[in-house]
């Protein structure tokens, strides 16, 4: 057994995290920063943080992840990181020439209390940040929240630190897509496009983290939301934040500070959440939903109805980020499946409440914990086995030990491709998810079928 020390008996833990279902803020902030065109994310802390985040993002996307670090030494940790950050700006703008640097902090710089805002001001004032170049920044202490929090913080920083209000509407809708894949961002834009809604989607890692092989490395690939677009988010007719954890803060800040009205919705994963997303776009922009969208909806519905015998009543364990897990759970319930063990690593009390809402038809018959970890999830599974596990790559250890069909979803996925290219949001994304879920379940049926029940037609 790969996880041979995991006992069935569950003992309460208060201090020890085992096999976490989250990681720390800065990586989320780095990911968000990569979604601005011409941006170099910068990690203000020990160089190991930056190395770890770049490595993990690289393994997940199989794409270059460029980011710089303040390379703290013991001295800097004692005397403060201002000199490091100023040197970093100088090096970066001289050598790598980004349009914008997105600075996030780490537990180190937060613990010693570096005032990044102050340092950036100084750097602007003294020309270390050249004219026409931008620096945005956000505190992302690793000991608060999770990678989702870090993402949220950096997205909020984009809005707050760049958005301007001219008073003249640009007729666009801001979409904050949440901590999702580049493919998901493309799909959100495609859906909005089908509705004829012009959008500013930020951050936008498409074109950057699913880039082509062309024989040429580009430090700043095509793609990403532009600084100019970010500035104009203040003139949009409204904002839609997708995912309360990852996107609410940014759209609310625009609402509060620049009076851009906002809505916060679940990530549009699955039939109903996509319905709400489309409906929100429609009502915010005052457009009609074209038949092409309704057609895609109907296709998803069609496949779900066709495949009911394989879906209905199947028990599922899920772990992942709260916005993802909430929408996924609702999708599974919509399809007739029964999510029985649900964990997120990211804190936030609303999680349990929302999960209880979307699983209401099952009453109290659901294990849910946020924040929880994969060790707990595994123990739950040992106590009540499931037909399917949906989790990031780390779930594979549980899946193999317990011999459970496994669908990879979430962050990070280190051992398969596809997530960068095929969305899970929208109706098409739902179909793709469904294809994977059915594939996992039906492969298992085929594997375990006695010969007389090995079926040609399923």
């Amino acid at each position: 057994m790969l996880l041979r020390h995991t006992p069935k008996e569950i003992k309460a833990r208060k201090a020890l995290a085992i096999n976490p279902a989250k990681t720390c803020q800065p990586i989320g902030a780095m990911y968000a920063g990569l979604g601005i065109h011409g941006c170099l994310p910068h990690s203000h802390g020990s160089q190991g943080c930056c190395a770890y985040h770049r490595s993990t993002l690289t393994r997940h996307y199989r794409e270059p992840i460029m980011a710089a670090t303040s390379s703290f030494t013991e001295g800097a940790s004692v005397f403060g990181g201002q000199a490091n950050l100023l040197q970093a700006f100088l090096t970066i703008f001289t050598t790598y020439d980004p349009d914008i640097v997105a600075v996030h902090t780490t537990c180190l710089s937060e613990t010693i209390g570096d005032d990044v805002n102050q340092i950036v001001k100084k750097a602007k004032a003294d020309g270390t940040i050249p004219e026409g170049k931008y620096v945005i920044h956000t505190p992302t202490p690793s000991y608060v929240g999770s990678h989702v929090t870090g993402f949220s913080n950096m997205v909020k920083a984009m809005a707050v630190q760049l958005a301007e209000k001219t008073g003249k509407s640009n007729g666009k809708v801001n979409i904050v897509p949440g901590f999702v894949e580049p493919s998901d961002m493309v799909e959100m834009k495609r859906i909005a496009g089908m509705l004829g809604v012009e959008t500013i989607l930020f951050p936008d890692t498409s074109g950057i983290l699913n880039g082509p092989l062309t024989g040429k490395f580009q430090m700043y690939p095509k793609g990403g939301v532009t600084i100019d677009e970010l500035k104009r988010t203040g003139d949009s007719i409204g904002s839609i934040g997708l995912g309360a954890w990852a996107s609410a803060d940014a759209v609310r800040a625009l609402d509060t500070q620049l009076k851009v009205p906002c809505q916060v919705h679940d990530l549009p994963i699955g039939l109903l959440a996509t319905d709400r997303f489309v409906d929100a776009l429609r009502t915010v922009a005052g457009v009609s939903v074209p038949d092409t969208v309704t057609q895609e909806r109907g296709q998803l519905l069609d496949v779900i109805s066709d495949m009911q015998p394989h879906l209905y009543g199947k028990k599922v364990a899920i772990a992942g980020d709260p916005d993802q897990v909430i929408a996924l759970t609702e999708f599974l319930v919509t399809m007739g499946m029964k999510p029985v063990h649900i964990v997120t690593g990211t804190p936030g009390k609303a999680f349990t409440k929302r999960i209880k809402e979307v699983t209401a038809r099952f009453g109290d018959d659901i294990n849910v914990k946020g924040p929880g970890d994969l060790f707990l999830l595994h123990q739950w599974i040992k106590n009540e086995p499931v037909d399917l596990l949906i989790c990031n790559t780390y779930g594979k250890y549980i899946a193999r030990d317990e011999d459970i069909p496994f669908v990879r979803h979430g962050f990070p996925i280190l051992d398969r491709i596809g997530h960068s290219y095929f969305p899970s949001v929208g109706y098409k994304g739902g179909l793709h998810l469904l294809e994977k879920i059915l594939g996992a379940l039906m492969d298992r049926t085929d594997r375990d079928a006695p010969e007389e029940r090995f079926e040609l037609v399923e």
Partner: protein
């Protein structure tokens, strides 16, 4: 067609080109770490190393914690490695290094697949994390009953003043199992290297020597600095066993605490990665009298010569004969593979920037199939890893290094036992036997090549643009930036998904891998037809 390039590019020019794009102060600093090999005469070449990375420079390097927890202690399977800090550090070092572990039985301890962390929260930062750390140790004990728990300090731990060592002592006493800590905060030192040293110190202090049982074997050694990435350690151990040599311990691929506790009973230390583990080798010699030699099992020639070196040490004819027989047997398929692969690889060029020894060790493997290494450098080495151990006395101890504790080791009162007398040692040395010797990378580097320590993204780009290598070796962070150029990139930290590459068997794997990478047809399709041939007239045809 290929290979010619080497001589058309002047390393001095490349260096100039590289430095031109830095702010002047940065350029001055980097200049010391970039060393052109402009002539065949390499005496006196220096490579600045183990110095701070300039902020903002986009380095390969990681941190002290990564060196301590990730590299050295990570591969040890029967201990709960508990990260004291926010969740990230533990998360990123969870199963990401491909160091393999094979416990002797299905119920033997194996915590490799687990990540343990105190997951510090803001209140722990404000009020101190010792209480939570203690509770976490207690919970780990209650659930797992491990024989040992170690604690790794992350950046905030040192800053807020948590005394992990005190906690370790307290809990060790309370629970009666071996518990100890590492002050390996990420900001310490200038790279992972600091973490290696800290790990070596703590293991030596808290574990080595705890068990005096002597293994019943004639030729028993420790293998130091071999982390069993992709199974390298497995094939090396198989090879040694085939020769009749037993491993008391490996530092630290597929290792256990019990092996460490017992390692002082071995009769020789064979050091693979000099950089990460030479501290332990030195300390074992001082305290227990075990000599050490540098070995390498990367490349058939090195493997053969390392086996011979070990055999020579024991001065046992039977062993020497057996080693020769094994070499003869194992070399045949390697030579056959070289014959097969070389025509497709000959004349091609490589670069490698990685670790603290691999950028050196792997050069032989490339050479064996006719390839030239155009440029190389380490990520976290010290000058001795480039220039050889003779340079150690000259190395200036700077502030960053000074903060890493240097243990004062004395011969053990009861257990110090020189395996060879001074006379025996001297006799061997006079026959050219190289105790404690390591010549570093420089002797490997050909004229026209360029050595770069702690290479940056900008430098990587410049090298690629100017040298146009056929293959590039580095780590995951560099992989796809290189491949975007249409140049295959081999990870020499984690081997991508490959390995083992050590020993004779591994050499065959490596040759196949390089052959595949150089000759996969995908690289010929970079251009679309409309890019190659942009005119716009249709030709109609029926077939």
């Amino acid at each position: 067609m290929t290979g010619e390039r080497t001589h058309t590019v002047n390393p001095e020019e490349i260096k100039k080109e590289i430095l031109a794009k830095y702010p002047p102060k940065v350029a001055r600093k980097r200049a010391k770490q970039i060393t052109p090999v402009s002539s065949d005469e390499k005496d006196g070449l220096k490579v600045g190393a183990n110095v701070r990375t300039v902020p903002g420079i986009i380095t390969q390097r990681g941190c002290c914690y990564a060196g301590c927890k990730g590299v050295i202690m990570g591969p040890t399977r029967d201990i709960i490695n508990l990260t004291h800090g926010p969740i990230g550090c533990g998360f990123y070092s969870w199963l990401t290094r491909r160091n393999q572990t094979r416990p002797p039985s299905d119920d033997a301890d194996n915590y490799m697949t687990y990540c343990f962390s105190t997951d510090m929260q803001d209140q722990d930062i404000v009020f101190g994390g010792e209480k939570k750390l203690k509770a976490a140790i207690q919970e780990a004990y209650d659930i797992f009953k491990p024989k040992s728990i170690s604690i790794f300090s992350t950046c905030p731990v040192g800053l807020i003043g948590d005394d992990v060592h005190a906690v370790a002592r307290e809990m060790k006493e309370k629970l009666g199992i071996n518990i100890f800590g590492f002050s390996c905060e990420g900001y310490k030192g200038v790279s992972q290297s600091a973490g290696h040293h800290i790990a070596n110190n703590a293991i030596f202090t808290h574990v080595v020597g705890l068990d005096d049982t002597v293994m019943d074997a004639k030729f028993k050694i420790n293998l130091l600095g071999e982390y069993n990435i992709g199974g390298d350690g497995f094939v090396i151990e198989e090879l040694l066993n085939k020769c009749g040599i037993e491993l008391v311990s490996t530092f630290s691929g597929n290792s256990t605490m019990d092996q460490f506790a017992n390692c002082h009973t071995a009769d020789l230390n064979a050091v693979m990665c000099h950089r990460s583990i030479n501290y332990v080798a030195d300390m074992l010699e001082t305290k227990y009298g075990i000599p050490w030699i540098k070995v390498s099992f990367l490349g058939p020639t090195s493997t053969a010569s390392s086996l011979r070196k070990i055999a020579a040490y024991f001065e046992d004819q039977e062993l020497i004969d057996r080693v020769e027989a094994v070499i003869a047997e194992e070399m045949a398929p390697v030579e056959a593979k070289i014959k097969e692969v070389k025509p497709r690889c000959e004349g091609k060029t490589a670069m490698m920037f990685v670790g603290g020894s691999r950028a050196h060790h792997y050069q032989e493997l490339f050479r064996d199939i006719g390839m030239t290494v155009l440029s190389a450098g380490y990520e976290f080495a010290h000058r001795d890893d480039y220039e050889g151990r003779h340079v150690i006395p000259d190395i200036k101890i700077d502030a960053d290094s000074r903060n890493i504790e240097e243990l004062e080791i004395e011969p053990d009162d009861t257990r110090y036992n020189p395996r060879k007398t001074e006379e025996e040692m001297k006799a061997l040395e006079e026959k050219g036997y190289p105790f404690k010797a390591y010549d570093g990378m420089i002797p490997e580097m050909e004229k026209g090549s360029l050595i770069i320590d702690d290479i940056s993204q900008h430098e990587t780009e410049t090298l690629i643009a100017m040298y146009k290598p056929d293959i590039f070796c580095a780590g995951i962070k560099e992989k796809y930036a290189v491949q975007k150029h249409g140049i295959p990139m081999k990870q020499l930290h984690s081997y991508d998904t490959g390995g083992p590459y050590a020993s004779f068997e591994g050499a065959i794997n490596f040759f196949d891998e390089i052959d595949r990478m150089l000759n996969a047809n995908i690289w010929q399709y970079l251009e679309a037809p409309w890019q190659k041939n942009p005119e716009l007239s249709a030709k109609y045809n029926w077939e």
